[in-house]
């Protein structure tokens, strides 16, 4: 009788506590729950670059992909572009690809920006925001490191220094 009561009470309390803990956890993590998680497969996408060439993420299997989301008005994005360009030229023969996804700006603005900054890597425009939605982008700049198997290795938001860009590329070198 006594034992049964203890078991009953303990079970009820555990069920209640589990419900409360889950609710709190779900509520407190809902704001920073990433759409794309580190260690998971990166969502595939296909966008056309400024030269009319199509880039599909899954076509880069076997290579590391440095995926950068940016806008021309975004100062930190602008600051890190030359570093990414330098490291791109250094690592492109070692199997690291850079894809720079512009967030729904006009072709003119993107082209002028690329010319001014002398960018060599492919730039694609996510005109209707589908890729941004798929990756849950906010805020800019956002960088995803994707390894040769298509898995997300790292997510970073905020300006990069030349050194971190190099470290990042080193990380995804196949």
């Amino acid at each position: 009788m006594k034992k049964r009561r203890l078991i009953m009470r303990t079970t009820i309390l555990i069920i209640l506590a589990a419900a409360v803990v889950y609710t709190l956890y779900a509520n407190l993590t809902k704001d920073n729950r990433m759409k794309v998680e580190v260690g998971k497969q990166a969502p595939d996408f296909a966008l056309v670059d400024m030269n009319g060439e199509k880039h599909k993420l899954s076509d880069y299997k076997g290579q590391g992909v440095f995926l950068n989301f940016w806008g021309t008005w975004c100062k930190p994005c602008e600051a890190e572009m030359p570093y990414i360009n330098n490291q791109f030229n250094h690592y492109k023969d070692q199997g690291v690809q850079v894809l720079a996804v512009n967030v729904s700006e006009s072709e003119l603005a993107v082209n002028q920006f690329a010319e001014r900054k002398k960018l060599d890597f492919p730039i694609v425009i996510d005109t209707d925001g589908q890729v941004q939605t798929a990756y849950g982008i906010n805020p800019l700049p956002a960088t995803f490191l994707i390894d040769k198997d298509g898995k997300v290795v790292k997510y970073h938001t905020g300006t990069l220094t030349e050194r971190t860009v190099r470290e990042f590329m080193e990380k995804i070198k196949p």
């Binding site: 296909a46 006009s106 003119l108 939605t133």
Partner: protein
């Protein structure tokens, strides 16, 4: 555990005040009271008597009604505090919350922000209080409903003298005809009492059902809370805003790219006193502009076949719908509601290439602000190149022109105008109401001609699978309230004691109704109408 065996033979759990079966007073302290406390039938609320392990201690904490009431009071006060200043989600997005509260409300706003009251209703401690109320509800109810149910089930017809004479309504009659008892029994049955008989003693009972009201009510509340909790489970509840320009088609968020919606047109209508009933003329005059209708003419599309983000999807039209306030576009479990709008967002700007001296124009250029072309050829050696485009123009700190965002709120251009006279081109910076010629005087200018605008609509994307659970909780809550409020649990004991007829009665509410029923049942019999001992006591006091 100690159990208490009553002289009637019934074994009661430890802590029982009144024997479950015969009602004899078992608790020493209640012995000398003239009236019994009938709450929970004097059953043993075990939590209050049994306190050993840590589990029991936690259980007992939540089982206390006093604790429950305090939890509710604290939560109420906190909820009220959250309404003093607007919550963060309602402040305009023009300023970071950190600055906004201090800027608008001074030191109090700063304090409010620092205490985290700007997001009070989703703060962890607020949720903990709500959760503790939920736990308190479950445990309080369980701890009371089980013993109460057992006590009411175990009650015998024949009750102990001490129980009977300590009831609020009590009376003794002598020389009663057995026939009278039969008459009373029949009258009580006619009043829908359920009458049980044992050795000539009677127990008439009705409305026991009413006693479960509070617990049904609590079950409803708990289901309600579970519904609220389920909103945090991914996929159960979605509440997103989608901004759509006229002519734009976008993927509906949270549909895995399955559905797309297009905004064909956004309409804002005002009441027009010419068209409305004359009776409203004065009201319309007084109020000025009164909006009659917010409407988005929307088209819903479904994607055909698989597509990966970024690729042009193949779309199939599902339906057209005019989304108005409270008339959402519904599909599957989703609904798109009209929630906001922005009128006249810039879409295109037109300029004429003009000779400044003669005023002669050499062709017009219409520039889309979402997709400007790098070059516009006007023929005959005239042309315009867009060297730079700033959709949301401002001067940066270093004096360079720059853009704040990608939305064309304040567009500005750097043009190179070529003409047969100046084949290498002249450079001109053109913004709204402003032209700068950075490389000296030009012969030509881009004369502003006009703009085209588009309306933008905002739709709420809503999916709520929890609503029916919340509705069910609410219905049970109300059933419980009605059950407890509109029915009374009434019991009348009519028993042979010491050759006399003792009559006692108890109800959980509405004593007047009970007494009236007894009076009419006993009328024209030799059984005396029992006294209301509470009323008698107060009358005695008053007469002294």
């Amino acid at each position: 555990m100690k159990e208490v065996k009553c002289e009637c033979g019934h074994v009661n759990p430890h802590g029982t005040v009144l024997c479950e079966a015969c009602g004899k007073v078992l608790d020493e302290q209640s012995q000398d009271k003239s009236l019994l406390d009938m709450r929970y039938e004097g059953s043993a609320r075990r939590s209050q008597t049994y306190n050993k392990s840590i589990v029991d201690k936690i259980w007992n904490f939540f089982s206390s009604v006093k604790v429950g009431v305090w939890l509710i009071v604290i939560t109420l006060v906190a909820s009220a505090a959250g309404t003093i200043l607007p919550q963060e989600m309602y402040i305009p997005p023009t300023m970071p919350a950190e600055e906004y509260y201090e800027d608008q409300y001074g030191w109090f706003g700063k304090l409010y922000y620092e205490l985290g009251f700007n997001n009070l209703y989703s703060s962890w401690w607020y949720l903990v209080f709500i959760a503790m109320i939920g736990i308190s509800l479950v445990i309080c109810s369980l701890d009371r409903v089980v013993p109460l149910y057992k006590a009411l089930k175990a009650q015998r017809v024949t009750r102990h003298e001490g129980f009977l004479k300590r009831q609020r309504v009590f009376g003794i009659s002598k020389n009663v005809d057995e026939n009278d008892i039969l008459v009373v029994k029949q009258r009580l049955q006619a009043k829908r009492y359920h009458v049980r008989e044992e050795n000539g003693d009677l127990l008439a009972e009705k409305g026991r059902f009413s006693r479960w009201g509070p617990y049904v009510n609590h079950v409803g509340l708990i289901i309600f809370l579970i519904g609220g909790m389920l909103r945090f489970v991914p996929g159960m509840y979605i509440d997103k805003v989608l901004w759509l320009r006229e002519g734009e088609t976008k993927v509906v968020p949270e549909t895995d790219g399955q559905y797309y919606v297009a905004n064909e047109k956004f309409i804002l209508e005002n009441y027009d006193k010419e068209k409305e009933n004359k009776a409203f003329e004065a009201a319309i005059d007084r109020a000025g502009m009164v909006v009659k209708n917010y409407q988005t003419n929307a088209v819903l599309y479904k994607r055909v076949g698989p597509a990966i983000p970024g690729e042009q999807p193949e779309l199939e039209k599902v339906k057209e719908h005019q989304i108005r306030v409270n008339q959402p576009l519904k599909f599957e479990k989703f609904a798109l509601y009209q929630v906001d709008y922005k009128l006249d967002e810039l879409n295109t700007m037109s300029f004429s290439l003009t000779n400044k001296e003669t005023g002669k124009t050499f062709g017009d250029v219409k520039i889309s602000l979402y997709d400007p072309k790098p070059k516009y050829d006007l023929g005959n050696g005239y042309g315009v190149e867009v060297l730079s485009f700033f959709p949301d123009f401002e001067f940066a700190e270093n004096g360079e022109p720059t853009t704040k965002s990608r939305i064309p709120n304040n567009p500005a251009f750097v043009f190179r105008m070529t003409s047969p006279e100046v084949p290498d081109g002249e450079t001109s910076f053109v913004a709204i109401q402003q032209t700068i010629e950075p490389l000296g005087d030009n012969q030509y200018k881009m004369a502003f001609k006009g703009i085209e605008t588009k309306n933008v609509t905002a739709l709420t994307v809503r999916k709520d699978l929890t609503i029916w659970i919340i509705v069910l909780g609410g219905i049970l809550f109300m059933i419980g309230v009605m059950q407890g409020a509109y029915w009374n649990h009434r019991r009348i004991w009519l028993q042979h004691k010491n050759g006399e007829i003792w009559i006692s009665a108890h109800t959980n509410k509405n004593w007047y109704g009970l007494k009236r029923e007894i009076e009419s049942a006993l009328s024209e019999t030799k059984i005396n109408i029992p006294d209301d001992q509470v009323q008698k006591e107060t009358m005695d006091k008053e007469s002294v």
